[in-house]
């Protein structure tokens, strides 16, 4: 699974930092998303997926890396 974020779209609601704190944080100055880990370990993938799902602005893009077996 690969992740990217679009800081232009981000509205800083913090749903990502709340649901997957190992993967996302917020910039202390502007509050916008900071991607800590673009290739999260297996243990954090479910949370990262959830974060992408609950992000209100569609700022988190999730790609299933070929061969990663993620569904």
């Amino acid at each position: 699974m690969g992740l990217s974020v679009d800081r232009e779209r981000c509205i800083g609601a913090g749903m990502c930092a709340m649901t997957a704190p190992a993967v996302f944080d917020q910039d202390p100055d502007d509050g916008l998303v900071v991607l800590l880990d673009a290739e999260p370990a297996a243990a954090d993938r479910a949370a990262a997926r959830m974060a992408a799902g609950v992000c209100p602005s569609g700022a988190i893009v999730l790609r299933d890396a070929p061969g990663s077996g993620g569904a």
Binding site: I11, G12, G14, A17, Q26, P28, G31, M50, V54, S57
Partner: protein, 397 residues
């Protein structure tokens, strides 16, 4: 086809008797006819009502729908645009011009740093409650003061002004006073905030409002922003705390589960947010013709989004009408969605987690002090649903 569409004549004004937590019956019935049905607005204009989770969410994320107050097509008179700073009722780019400088001040991290202070405030309220005897109105002793004190501290509203300030905001948000009183309260709040902004500009202190005087925002704009933050900052959380406690007291098995395993609190807060959806509805107006759920919403038409039916949508949640503090969190619309999603949600979450836990710890024998049906509810016409008072009692130790 569209002729046979279900129509809701007007937004319901009451809940089903005896069922204070469930959405009004007319809305649930409407949802049975599909996620989008026709609705007639108060001014007689045709509109739409959206009750289903997926559709509500997609409209909230759709830039073809506007939040602008002056575009609302619901009454037969012109609605003026939102005053400067009241960005909830604006679209981008205005909206994000106001929101942007605030975002960094309400991050998950910054809100976590406040936990200790919120714990202190909560403990003080509970101490005062305990000292006053074995019964109290939980609204005035607990639900209102905690979020009020916290948001006032964040913004920098002086301690001695809090009580009168809270009363005014109550008057114009509670849905219970006549027009005259409402306008008077609103005007008084505006005047108060104007003085406050001027004071912060002259003598900045260590708070968000003072920090904001450093930006390019005008005093008028800062006044509007403060109003939104204060109103949103306490009315919603206060009602979540009071109505949430009432809901737990009426679901003793859920309350017991939460007492037994305090680690359930985070999930329980999300579940209460979903189950109660105290911010019940929002409106959006179509900027162009948009197809929504197979219906054509014409440009200029206002749609009403029902959060409480969306958050109880059986297509989205298993047994949606059941309050289950163990339900795994996977999204609800209690804080809305899209670019307007609540800025203060992380603060609200921490306040609720801290406050509910401390309350249950402190008063193991907490119970209603009136028959459950007699707890006075806010009218459905209030923007934010809740209880007017919540008489509770406990055994003194």
């Amino acid at each position: 086809m569209s002729e046979s569409l279900h129509t809701v004549a007007a937004m319901p004004t009451e809940r089903r008797p005896g069922c204070p937590f469930d959405p009004p019956a007319e809305l649930v019935e409407a949802r049975g006819h599909g996620p989008i049905v026709r609705l007639t607005h108060p001014g007689g204009m045709p509109g739409w009502l959206i009750t289903g989770y997926d559709l509500v969410r997609s409209v909230l994320a759709d830039p073809r729908f506007s939040s602008r107050k002056d575009l609302l097509n619901v009454v037969d008179f012109e609605i003026p645009p939102a005053p400067p700073g009241e960005f909830l009722l604006m679209d981008d780019p205005e909206h994000s011009r106001y929101r942007k400088p605030l975002v960094g001040k309400f991050t998950v991290r910054r809100m976590r740093l406040l936990t200790e202070r919120i714990e202190q405030v909560t403990a003080e309220c509970l101490d005062a409650m305990a000292a006053a005897g074995s019964s109290a109105d939980l609204v005035t002793a607990f639900a209102k003061p905690i979020p009020t004190i916290v948001i006032c501290e964040i913004l920098g509203v002086p301690y001695e002004d809090r009580a009168s300030f809270q009363q005014q905001i109550d008057a114009f948000m509670g849905g219970e006073v006549g027009d005259e009183e409402l306008i008077a309260a609103y005007t008084a709040t505006q005047e108060y905030l104007a003085r406050l902004v001027a004071a912060k500009r002259a003598h900045p202190t260590d708070d968000v409002l003072s920090e904001l005087t450093d930006s390019d925002l005008t005093d008028e704009e800062l006044k509007g922003i403060s109003l939104i933050l204060l109103a949103a900052g306490f009315d919603t959380t206060a009602n979540m705390l009071a109505l949430g406690t009432y809901a737990l007291l009426r679901h003793p098995e859920q309350l017991a589960a939460l007492r037994e395993d305090p680690s359930l609190i985070d999930g329980a807060v999300e579940e209460l947010l979903r189950y109660l959806s105290v911010a019940k509805t929002f409106m959006r107006t179509a900027l162009e013709d948009v197809e929504v759920g197979g219906q054509l919403v014409e440009a200029g038409t206002t749609v009403v989004l029902s959060y409480n039916t969306a958050n109880r949508d059986p297509e989205r949640f298993t047994d949606p009408d059941v309050l289950d503090v163990r339900r795994p969190f996977d999204g609800h619309l209690a804080f809305s969605h899209g670019i307007h999603q609540c800025l203060g949600q992380q603060l609200a979450r921490i306040e609720m987690r801290v406050a509910f836990r401390a309350l249950l710890d402190r008063f193991p024998s907490l119970r209603l002090d009136v028959p459950a049906e007699e707890v006075p509810l806010r009218p459905e016409t209030a923007d934010i649903y809740g209880v007017k008072s919540l008489p509770v009692a406990w055994d003194e130790k």
